[in-house]
């Protein structure tokens, strides 16, 4: 085999190093432990991945985010600092890990989760309702988006009332 140019070898070693860091963080390091502990605080495991039953509507594989990634996203550097008037909507919230993180920030913002998978939506709503009842957190509605791609609107379900059918209203 021909010897690779020095520049290419250096690039390959950088890629190898990044892969090792990624594996350490995601599989062996503090990130999984933090996920478990934070999920536990909010009523149960919110991670994992599974295939979507709505692939025909363009829905992807359900997969959860790591908590350590979220402060990097919602930072002033990215122009995404959360202000008191913001309504926070997680489109495709899955089991609600991002919602957990938002709640953990102690903000008074309105938080909305949208999930096309009915079972996941029910699971997240049940888990977070229980949490809300015990701690008086900010108002939180669970929205189930039905056939997002088929119709242009969404059906909204609130724990405190019937679907209002107004679509994306906040």
């Amino acid at each position: 085999m021909r010897r690779l140019p020095r520049r290419l070898r250096r690039q390959l070693s950088v890629v190898r190093f990044r892969v090792r860091v990624w594996v350490f963080r995601h599989k062996l390091g503090i990130a999984p432990l933090r996920n478990v502990l934070t999920d536990r605080k909010y009523g149960g495991w919110s991670g994992g991945s599974r295939t979507s039953t709505h692939a025909d509507l363009g829905a992807n594989l359900f997969g959860s985010v790591h908590y350590y990634e979220l402060p990097r996203i919602f930072s002033a550097r990215n122009g995404l600092e959360i202000t008191p008037s913001d309504v926070l909507v997680d489109i495709g919230c899955g089991k609600g890990r991002v919602i957990n993180w938002w709640l953990g920030l102690g903000l008074g913002n309105r938080i909305i989760g949208l999930e096309i998978e009915e079972l996941l939506a029910i699971e997240a709503r049940k888990r977070l309702q229980r949490y809300r009842m015990s701690t008086s957190l900010p108002e939180m509605r669970s929205i189930r988006c039905r056939s997002m791609a088929r119709s242009s609107g969404c059906s909204i379900r609130s724990p405190s009332g019937p679907p209002d059918g107004r679509g994306w209203s906040s």
Binding site: W22, N60, N78, G79, L80, S152, G167
Partner: protein, 61 residues
Amino acid sequence: MEQLSARLTELYGDGSSLRLVLYRPRHVEVFRDDSRWDVRLISGLGLFYDTAVVTPRPRPG
């Protein structure tokens, strides 16, 4: 995603303060191809992410 993009444009595409965070490259592409949205990529989140912040462009007039 195309339907979502269209619906969001209809509701918030008039220069509102909507900020949309997208994780998947395929989703980013949908908004990048639409001139009504500004797409700004965020880097440094890991190996397999292509995260972007999407904001509506103000409509002329």
